[in-house]
């Protein structure tokens, strides 16, 4: 079952780089990350790559495989033909550090800009009561493994460095949605999404949803509902106030 595959891997750093060709052994059942590891072990020990869990749980091994943002550890080699050359390049939306490793600090900066969960002051630890059905909406978004593939693919920032300042990106729209739908969060997230985090710049292309390895319905379940309700909130302050009051009473 062993065969030789043709790989093309981007090698270089912030100053310069190029695609390099490798012929490398592939065995049954392997994923792209296995092959990258074999390159490291046998041909180019200093090849820079991030990974941790090797099972799609940590979101470390993000790269672009034949131009498509993917997790290397979840991309099976048997999805390619034997003749195909497999091209692996670093995420395009972020500055390269070396080889397949990029500087993703943009995302950590954005995380810092979103006010944390603010629970109700009158409930002590252990007193929280929530229905399963109510937590499930937010739970979908908390499946996020922070692979940042959605950030990488989103055209608003992919080739537009200038938009990064004002635009938090799909990963953080689901963070806002998660907090907004959290049964006990007390802050107004919708208005913030629009005014502080650039939700308005998203034009619902759904590219982010397509690449999400956790199959989170970023656009349908987070962005669109937030946009719709932002409209409600913006134009109907009385209704907005009402919803907040009801929610407090319901605690």
């Amino acid at each position: 079952m062993t065969r030789t595959a043709k790989f093309r891997v981007w090698r270089g750093d912030a100053s310069d780089g190029a695609l390099k060709d490798y012929n490398i052994e592939v065995n049954e059942g392997e994923v792209v990350l296995d092959v990258i590891h074999r390159l490291q072990a046998t041909q180019t020990p200093d090849l820079a790559v991030r990974w941790n869990c090797k099972a799609g749980k940590c979101g470390s091994c993000s790269a672009e495989i034949n131009g498509r943002p993917r997790l290397m550890c979840m991309t099976r080699m048997n999805t390619f033909t034997d003749e195909e050359t497999i091209t692996v390049t670093p995420l395009r939306a972020f500055p390269v550090i070396r080889d397949l490793v990029t500087n993703v600090s943009f995302n950590y900066k954005k995380a810092l800009e979103i006010p944390a969960f603010a629970g109700p002051a009158h409930l002590k630890p252990g007193e929280y009561r929530m229905e399963q059905i109510d937590v499930e909406r937010s739970q979908e978004f908390r499946k996020c493994i922070e692979c940042f593939l959605c950030q990488d693919t989103c055209h608003v920032i992919r080739d537009h460095e200038e938009n990064k300042e004002a635009f938090a990106g799909p990963r953080f729209f689901i963070r806002l949605a998660e907090l907004d739908m959290h049964p006990l969060d007390t802050l107004d997230r919708k208005r913030a999404a629009q005014e502080d985090h650039g939700l308005g710049m998203c034009n619902i292309t759904k590219c982010c949803t397509e690449v999400c390895p956790e199959h989170i319905k970023i656009t349908d379940n987070a962005i669109i509902p937030m946009k719709e309700r932002v409209v409600d909130v913006k134009y109907d302050p009385v209704r907005w106030l009402g919803s907040k009051i009801r929610r407090r009473e319901g605690l």
């Binding site: 750093d13 065995n27 049954e28 059942g29 392997e30 994923v31 296995d34 490291q40 072990a41 046998t42 020990p45 200093d46 090849l47 820079a48 790559v49 991030r50 990974w51 941790n52 869990c53 090797k54 099972a55 799609g56 749980k57 940590c58 979101g59 470390s60 979840m74 099976r76 550090i97 070396r98 080889d99 490793v101 500087n103 993703v104 950590y108 995380a111 810092l112 006010p115 944390a116 969960f117 629970g119 630890p125 252990g126 929280y128 009561r129 929530m130 229905e131 399963q132 937590v135 937010s138 739970q139 908390r142 499946k143 996020c144 493994i145 922070e146 907090l179 959290h182 969060d185």
Partner: protein
Amino acid sequence: MTEIERHSFDVVVIGAGGAGLRAAVEARAAGLRTAIICKSLFGKAHTVMAEGGIAAAMGNVNSKDNWQVHFRDTMRGGKFLNNFRMAELHAKEAPDRVWELETWGALFDRTKEGKISQRNFGGHEYPRLAHVGDRTGLELIRTMQQAIVSLQQKDAVEFGDAEARIKVFAETTITEIIKDGDRAAGAFGYIRETGNLILFEAPAIVIAAGGIGKSFKVTSNSWEGTGDGHALALKAGGKLVDMEFVQFHPTGMVWPPSVRGILVTESVRGDGGVLRNSEGRRFMFDYIPEVFKEKYAQSEEEGDRWYADPDNNRRPPELLPRDEVARAINSEVKAGRGSPHGGVFLDVSTRLAPDVIKKKLPSMWHQFKELADVDITTQAMEVGPTCHYVMGGILVDPDTGAASGVPGLFAAGESAGGMHGSNRLGGNSLSDLLVFGRRAGAGAVAYFQSLSGNTPKVSDASITKASDHALAPLRNPGGENPYTIQADLQQVTNDLVGIIRTKSELEESLSKLKGFRARLANITCPGGSAFNSGWHLALDLENMLLVSDCIAHAALIREESRGGHTREDFPKMSAEWRKFNLVSHFTNGEVAVEKLALPEMRDELLNLFDIEELGKYMTPEELTRHSKGANA
């Protein structure tokens, strides 16, 4: 000397898993300037991979549960070798630590009453594991990460600088603890991105660097699990306790080869999965050990009834503690009754409907579908043992996490030892991280405050020494490739220090391990120092070797079988051996192991057990302290 970046903090936490982050929150809450250092990106630590849940006797699903029951289960799971005080603190404090997570935004699965739901797990008498599907570790790490961010947001408001009191140094690896006399004075390492060297001066250092799985060939651990924390403490004059106890999780993937070792969560069995051999037999019924006979179902029918009616039936033996199940699978495979790829079959499709499986075990479904072309809603999985967790770790004071022998050094989480005895119960790690992470953080704070300005200093000579050491593999031409050495080392531990051990093999392993020292001194890493994976591995290898050495040494000395240590030549558990821990230290470049008396359980804790049960573990003299004992 190469340019070295210098920082100064009150408390430095090495590790950003659950233990490190909880320690950092505690230090920052006391107003101390705290650094968090980790090898990967922030939020990627090993903790993120935990699946099944976090154990805490909240009693939400079965109100009979309480800390005493949890304490008893933990001691039983560890075969009574646990540090009783740690097991006690853990059982008492775990519920508070879980509830606290909720106030930081965690969203656990719920019961009908809207409380945190709890699931069954091996060795836990009642449903006890708070969970979020099978991605509990992700919830824990994200919640802690967000708790850190929220503290930074407060600092941004108060000081105009989010990093004023808590700063994360991601992708930074510590290679050495620097001391001033006896006391810890700083931590030295390199930044992966640039390869630049970095020094943290700090009087209080918390090691929360996780486990050692990468020393073994088949493991559920990521590249980070190279025993750095264990080795750092050892080299700094600290001690490691219980290193012979390594947990082989019974169910890792066995096929395809590239994913061998990746974990199949115990929840699969907790939620009804059964184990069968190639003959279709539920073989676990043949492996219920004497000490557990009364607690487990004796027939398949009783085991099956237990899922619906746990009060009137005993649990199926698939839910025995991990060491028992791992050994049983090992024996079945050895006896030629294994699955095609050298494991056994684990099947949940016969008990649960496809949509229930997808809901309860989403990431398992996904994992098998995408990595092995197996649909677990209709097909059985092939599973076998995988090196998962090390019970052994840094010897600490149970209440404060202070590392024995080095003032200023603290440890928590998987890097610390004692809490789990000879075998850890599933779910007891995540709770351990939070309970003892918090305590180690508080210990570091108290120590810092007690210094009142009398802080240790880092000498120039120690910096030169540390930096020469770190740079050696980059400067050495013409030596060996680190990846080859790693593979060879893993093969030795796999073959000679694995699940089943014997005197001759352990002796052989020790002499083979010695041979690696010369090879390590002669590693070559081509390329520059910026994000050079080969160089990183070269430095990790030293830790992997040191840890393997401690495991093999201790395993050779302990002439009995208990929990995560099985000696073919001493197959029985011995009450005499239970009185001792084995403690490793590192003097003059050699690992040495000595016996240390196990602390004696306080009488009121001893009396939580039936004397008959204790009789299976303890010597007659020890039993006299029990209220029903001879002296009562």
